[in-house]
Structures are given as C-alpha cells and as structure tokens.
C-alpha cells in the first residue's frame, strides 16, 4: 500500500531521517522507538508536512513527494497527530462535519455509533474533552476522511489503561475492515497488541522489522529499546 524508500529529512545541520525504508501492506504495522529517533518526523514527512530532501514516498504506486499536505490527504492518507490537535473553537459536531463526505463508508452517524461518548459530547468544544475523548475525536476526524491508510502518532500517550484497551479494540477493528494502519508508539504493549509487524526505529533508520510475537523476547527489547515491557 505505502512504500517509503531511502527517505532523508534534514533540519539545517540535523539529519533527522537517515534513509528510512518501509513497506506497509494491508496488515497493521507499528513503529516503535525511543524519544528523538525520528518517528514523528517520519509521520510528518509522509503527510508532506515536512520536506524530505531525498528518497521516495508512494501510495499504491503513485509518487507523493512534493505534493502539498492537502493533496496527500485527498489521495487517501489520514494522520492522527501526536497530542490530538483538536480545534479549540470548533465543537465535536463541527469537527466531524468539517471532514464528513456524503455517501462515504464512514459517516457522522457511524462515528457516533462507534464512539457513543462523542455523541454525548457533541456540543462541547474540542479542548473541553478529556484526553481519551480528544483522542477518539482525533481518530474520528481521520476516519471521516475515509482514508486508505491511517497513520497514528502516539495515540496512547497520556491515556488511562482502560481507555488504551478501548483504543486497541478500535484500531484492530479498523484493520479488520480493510483500512491500512500505521501505528507509531512508545508503548510497546499497544504496538504488539495492534500490529502484526513491528519496525524498530533507531537514530533515523529502521533498525529491524519483526513479527510482533518475537518482540516479547526481553533480550530483544533491551537491545533495541532499552526497556522491558511491563518492567516499568
């Protein structure tokens, strides 16, 4: 679905992405890595929000490099950004109406069925919601674009464990419906629960890519991430 080949991003002297190559198919994929490894930059480069100096990004065989973000969005990639980024001056309902398309698979009604909590809060402003509600809203906003691929940048950040479990169910459901899912996470548990394949990012490169099951090995976790799942 999405092909990323030898992608480089530089901010002045800083070489953030140093040749990232990825191939995302129909099965959900996760990227994990410590802070400052370039995960968010990769999301933004795919979306066209930062300029890639070298390399290629293609969706379904069509090159995306150099397109403005709104064209990339219309080609079928939706980004759920880190920190939700809901609009303070729009209500929940207005957020959804902003992106809803007529006659598409995801409609405002379907969003309300999937996230009943949003229906209850439809008149509230985008920043009056709890963290979990904001995350649901950010995901709903992305789904209403009816994308081929949804990229989620740290969706579990700052959420209570019970909300994280709900989030895992939602993401799995999306993937079962045939939507491509690229999940960028620091939370190894979420990454392993959602994705079949996990890529590990270290200093601007994909160090390795493995089936999610193999990451249960604490030795591997220590080597690439310097952490052990459940050990903190």
């Amino acid at each position: 679905m999405l092909e990323v080949r030898d992608l480089h991003v530089r901010f002045g002297q800083a070489h953030i992405l140093q040749g990232v190559s990825l191939s995302i198919g129909p099965r959900p994929m996760a990227i994990v890595g410590r802070n400052g490894m370039g995960k968010t930059t990769l999301c933004q480069a795919i979306m066209g929000l930062v300029h890639a100096t070298e390399g290629e990004i293609a969706l379904g065989g069509e090159r995306l490099n150099g397109l403005p973000p709104f064209r990339i969005a219309r080609r079928g990639i939706a980004l759920v950004p880190q920190g939700r980024r809901t609009f303070p001056s729009l209500s929940v309902e207005e957020h959804l109406r902003l992106v809803a398309l007529r006659g598409a698979a995801w409609t405002v009604e379907r969003v309300y069925q999937t996230f009943p909590r949003l229906a209850e809060r439809r008149r509230n402003g985008g920043t009056e919601l709890s963290g979990g509600e904001q995350q649901m809203l950010a995901i709903a906003r992305a789904l209403l674009m009816n994308p081929k691929l949804v990229i989620m940048d740290e969706p579990s950040e700052g959420l209570a464990p019970v909300i994280v479990d709900q989030l895992i169910d939602v993401l799995r459901g999306l993937s079962n419906d045939g939507m491509g899912v690229l999940l960028v996470e620091q939370n190894l548990r979420v990454a392993m629960a959602v994705a079949d394949e996990v890529a590990i990012m270290v200093t601007g490169r994909i160090a390795t890519s493995l089936p999610a099951k193999r990451l249960e090995d604490p030795e591997l976790q220590r080597r690439y991430l310097g952490v052990a799942a459940g050990g903190h």
Binding site: A73, F87, S89, L90, R97, L98
Partner: protein
C-alpha cells in the same frame, strides 16, 4: 452563547427598526432626526465596514487594515461610473448597474489583497495590508484623471427605489439597516457551513487543516473576497451617505477608525463591529460639546483606553463578564465568545506541531 446570539440579534434588529418611530415620541423632532440620520445611520454604515474586518479577524485570525481602502474602491467605482456625479469621469451607468459594479470591484480587490498577503500573518499581515491601503490612498490622492485627486468626486446622491429617495433620511436608514442585517445574518450562516468551519480551523491550526485535505490558501483568499464584498457594501452606502467620496475618507485616520471600532466593540463576534461603531460615532459626535473644543480627542482616547483596559475583549466581553459575575458561574474554558477568539494569534499558532 452561539446558539443564543441569533435571537438577541433579532431583538436588536426589531428595536432598530422601531427607533425612527420611537425617537420622535421621546425627543424633540430635530434631535430625533439627527439621531436617526447622523448617529444611527452613520454607525450602521461604518459598522458594516468594521464587520468585514471583524469577520476576517474573528473567524480566520487575519487582521487586515486594508478594509477601509477596499470600501473606498467600491465608493470610487460607484462615483466614477454613475450618472450625475461631479466631475463626470465615465458617468454612463445608472445606480442599478453602478452599484453591482462597485461591489464586484471591492470583491476583486479583496481577493487581490488576500492573494498578495497569502503568506504573511500576525503583525506582518497587519503591516502589508496597511501598506497596500496607504499605497492605494496615495495613488487616488494624486491621480486627477480618474479620481479627481484631493477634491474627490461629489454629487453621488443615491438611487430612488420604488419612488423612495435615498436622500430621505428614513429611506437611507432602512436601506442601511436592511443591508447590515442581511450581511450580519449571512455571516452567522456562513460560519456554520463547511467553508466557515475550515476558516475557523485555519485560525486554530493551519497545518492541521491542510492535513485534513483542505487547500488553506484558497480558503484564505476566498475569505478575503467575502470580506471585500462586505466592505464594498459599506463603501457604497458611505459614499451615498456623504454624497460623494474624497481621498480623506480612506486615509490613515479612517483606516485606524475602523480598527478602533472593531477592537472596542470586540473581535469575538460580528455584532461587536456594530456596537463598536455606535460607541465610536456617539463619542466622535458629542465629545466636542461636552469637553474643551480643542481637546476633545483626549476624551475620545481616554474612553477607548478605559474600554480596552476594563474589558480586553471589547464591549461584547463586558456582557459576558457581567453575566458570569451575576450568575457566579465558573469561567467556561473556551466557548464564551471573545475568550479564545480575541487571544492574539501568536498564542494559538505557538501550539502547532513542532517540526
């Protein structure tokens, strides 16, 4: 607040409609007419121009100082093309054709301003629109062939609609009020449409709107076009009100007056423009009679200073503050109009995704 705005506005509109009949009951005949024509009529006309700025600032976060100039473009287009204006420049069209042409010119000028200032924001947007406004002002002031230079063009008396003459103060008052009401409710409707929602999204976070699949630049230019049309309506009315137009009416003083009206009224809701223009017009008219004739500007300045100090979100913020005080409700986080809206754009954009 938002849902309650429309009924209150309708009530206000009803009061304004009834005023020309109410005032003569309360005041002597001469004073009643003076209030209708010189205070309320003038406040409504300038309120329309101020509302074009409020629209851009409230919903898009763009503070444009070119709006008075755009109103002037409409006024000059009308004066140049309409029959009977002195001196005659083109003077071939009736009001029925000249007014639409003037509105078209103002809309086109608005779109042009939006396109030129596309990549600037905050203080830089303010400066570039001010520079464009002053450039046009100087050009008009020194061009004799088209604009008759410093003198301007006179005798734009306005049309006669169904036997109702625009020189009749009541006819003019109701035409201005009707135009203002149409534009005002048009804006309230527009900001609920997807176009309006995108505009508010751009104010909160332009990058996010782009990532949702919207062309931010085109929406921005379209918003300036809408504001240009609104300013054009005000420009046509003010030209008819003044029976002509001269460069002074679009100079720096006039430009700043529009900004003052918008700010003291409040940049949180379009109604602020009309409240601001009413306060401004009343002070501007009566300051000289209640304070020393040579120093009346001091009084006007102090009054504006007091309003902005007491309520940073302008006169409409006072209402919200009083209501909170009386009902002793905790401060709502963001929905009260003028709270989030009137924050300077820089605090909003600072929250954008870091690269």
């Amino acid at each position: 607040m938002r849902s309650r705005a429309a009924p209150w506005s309708l009530l206000g509109l009803a009061v304004l409609l009834a005023l020309p009949w109410l005032l003569p009951q309360l005041l002597p005949q001469g004073q009643a007419q003076f209030w209708t024509a010189s205070i309320l009529g003038r406040a409504i006309v300038f309120g329309i121009i101020a509302m074009s700025l409020t629209f851009l600032a409230t919903y898009g976060g763009f503070v444009s100082l070119a709006q008075m100039m755009i109103a002037g473009i409409a006024g000059y287009t009308l004066a140049i093309f309409v029959e009977g204006a002195v001196p005659r420049v083109v003077g071939l069209l009736g009001y029925g054709a000249a007014i639409p042409l003037a509105l078209l010119a103002a809309t086109a000028m608005g779109i042009l301003m939006g396109a030129i200032s596309l990549r600037s924001r905050d203080i830089y947007l303010l400066m570039i629109t001010l520079a464009l406004g002053m450039g046009v002002f100087r050009f008009i002031e020194t061009n004799i062939a088209w604009f008759n230079g410093y003198e301007g063009i006179r005798n734009v008396v306005g049309p006669s609609l169904f036997g109702l003459d625009f020189r009749n103060a009541l006819v003019f008052y109701h035409a201005a009020l009707g135009t203002a009401a149409l534009l005002y409710f048009g804006i309230l409707y527009l900001v609920k449409t997807p176009f309006g929602l995108v505009l508010q999204g751009i104010r909160d976070n332009p990058r996010r709107v782009a990532a949702l699949g919207y062309a931010v630049g085109l929406h921005r230019i379209a918003a300036f076009g809408v504001a240009g049309f609104i300013a054009g309506c005000g420009g046509v009315l003010s030209t008819i009100y003044n029976i002509g137009i001269s460069p002074g009416s679009i100079g720096l003083g006039a430009t700043v007056n529009i900004l003052i009206m918008s700010v003291i009224g409040g940049l949180g809701h379009p109604i602020g423009a009309f409240i601001g223009s009413l306060i401004f017009t009343v002070l501007d008219t009566f300051a000289a009679t209640i304070y020393d004739r040579d120093r009346f500007n001091t009084l006007i300045g102090l009054a504006f200073l007091a309003i902005v100090l007491v309520s940073p979100d302008g006169a409409i913020g006072v209402g919200a503050r009083l209501r909170r005080l009386l009902t002793a409700q905790p401060r709502p986080a963001s929905r009260v109009c003028g709270e989030v809206r009137s924050r300077p754009p820089s605090t909003r954009t600072a929250k954008e995704e870091p690269p």
